[in-house]
Symmetry: none
Subunit: 411 residues, 2 copies
Amino acid sequence: MLTAEIIAIGSELLTPTKTDTNSLWLTEKLDDIGIEVKLKTIVGDDRLRLEEAISDALKRSNVVITTGGLGPTADDITRQCTAAAIGRDLVYRDDLEVHLRERFRSWGREMPEINKRQAFIFEGAEILPNPNGSAVGMLAEIDGKFLIVLPGPPRENQPMFLDHVLGRLKAMAGEGFVKRRVLSVSGLGESAVDEIAAPIYGAFPDVQTSILFNKSEVQIHIAARSEIEIVASTSCDKLADELIRAIGKAVFATHGETMEAIVGEHLRRRGETIAVAESCTGGLIARRITEVPGSSAYFLEGAVTYSNAAKIRTLGVSPTLLETHGAVSSQCAEAMAKGMRDYASSDHAVSVTGIAGPDGGTEDKPVGTVFIGYSGVKGTKSIRLHLPGDRYLIRWRTSQAALDYVRRQVM
Amino acid sequence: MLTAEIIAIGSELLTPTKTDTNSLWLTEKLDDIGIEVKLKTIVGDDRLRLEEAISDALKRSNVVITTGGLGPTADDITRQCTAAAIGRDLVYRDDLEVHLRERFRSWGREMPEINKRQAFIFEGAEILPNPNGSAVGMLAEIDGKFLIVLPGPPRENQPMFLDHVLGRLKAMAGEGFVKRRVLSVSGLGESAVDEIAAPIYGAFPDVQTSILFNKSEVQIHIAARSEIEIVASTSCDKLADELIRAIGKAVFATHGETMEAIVGEHLRRRGETIAVAESCTGGLIARRITEVPGSSAYFLEGAVTYSNAAKIRTLGVSPTLLETHGAVSSQCAEAMAKGMRDYASSDHAVSVTGIAGPDGGTEDKPVGTVFIGYSGVKGTKSIRLHLPGDRYLIRWRTSQAALDYVRRQVM
């Protein structure tokens, strides 16, 4: 498989608030044609580092793409640095200057003298025209490898890449297909998933598998490549099927869907409705359910009953229950779920009550103690969890556990 | 000025959908103590490239920080690669294994055998404890340069960096102070803010000012540097004060606070309460208000009345009103706000109803049409907005506009 590296150039990309996004778009396009991005570099207006980044990348990878640093000002150093990195001279192209002057004139302006810098290219470069800006791109084949130099703005480099680069790289990469799947697992840790999964994916050495943990779920990323499309998709699906069988119900999504989308799908398929009563998550569960377009088909109503008064008023939780067991209790979670279901006349209701912190924990019920209640046609029940993390993570993990609890009732 | 390079490790950071964000936070912290980030590298589970990235970085820069790749699975290769890059052996530390086993036991689990990998460190590494995860960090001084190896999750690497690394680097970097402020503006666009702000910050050539747009707010970032602390903080605050005076009420936060924190502060100061009735935002406003620790002091209740039935049942919106004006109307928004305030007996109530898309738009009320209602002791009112963006952005911007509407009533 061919490999690529992307070098994003610009001091502004090394500040605390800006990040390179060109590489995301380029990675997707390269991925589509079976070229794997192995490394990305972000470098400012530092000649030595930039030269080294380019020459190192050309030693290691089949395709090297740079973005940015082609403007007319003194800190735009990509032209000089690419030339130096590949040991070629910069040459001045009269025809480019003429063309630039014409373009400025067509915009009703005289070309500023500093833009003459943009008429320099490294020797032997093929020019990539730029209909959307003044900086042309450059392409060179060097010892069977491609060096591609693009301007920084997406509206300039994207059309340039699609029109003048993609086809060439596709021809170089040859026929080849990548099929991907993402399996999402809830309720098991990264190591536990890997212990089950490793012997299985180990038997598919040609398929790339990686296991990632993300706030409240473990994801298994599968990528199968082959010259023949059906071979790629068969090994991808075969591995996915085996993993799903081995991990079981804890796999909640088999194509990268979110938990809320999966719960929604099940409800829609069954033609059933849900209502949500939240205390410590403060609206997060309702927000997630309604993030899915078309969720109005199954989501009836949510109540954010933060205070005891609201739990009594809206959900009919009895004051005696609250006094006896407290608001953070299985009894309260169940009363909330049942009360919500009765109130909204929904098929299902889920509730949460817990201590998200940073304050409010006790010895019996430390921060992270959460009760999830469920009420449905078969009755009402609850679970108790102890979730690690800060306020944000406890709330997020509570919402995930609550949605997963619903999923297990409706799947 | 000392220089640093950051190496983000993980194949997921080379996919089209994920990007490294650790380096932004680290860049800011390094910037504060006068260390300049000159290059960032993002590399996957590729041993040769990672080794080369680390050894090249150590040749060029005073400080090299890696993040990620310290997990327990086979594709976590940072331990081996840092060792190889600096020509040291990996050593197994019994005490780390004992400690890991204890921690797993405290979480009520047995340590999976693969986690033993996390007891390896490179020879001579100083161990950076990790109270929030199982991967320890490592630090080594090599020929007067620092190599710092951190885990990937921000919740693990940020406390580790602040507690065990920052002080050491500060001592290395010597004196010099940077003072920062972030002003947040709501209800004005980026260019409008810049038009007001440019003549003002232009008069402070030594202070770095940048204007950024972020989903629903414009932020003005101010950074003043000096050898003398009081000089840095005086110019920073002086510029901030002038900008706040010129921009006026649209500045909602003067030290980078979130909108929900500011609204909460005002309510707390006044000893008043709020309730929220949401349609198209589906719980997002309640979620944001309750994200603030201690919000139970002023947040009484939220209702996610997605269906008309719920608007009638919970908020007492009249069926005739819904029939005459529709659910997406100023009349409905006002009835929702008034109904919510009466129901919860709160001092303030805010409501939203609108069309978040992708479906449901009409010629009169296209996708993005949103009505925000407010009810308080002085009466009930509403505004109509047309917000650009996709479903996610429209919902987010609606929540921001609603919170800002409340802010202007309570400030």
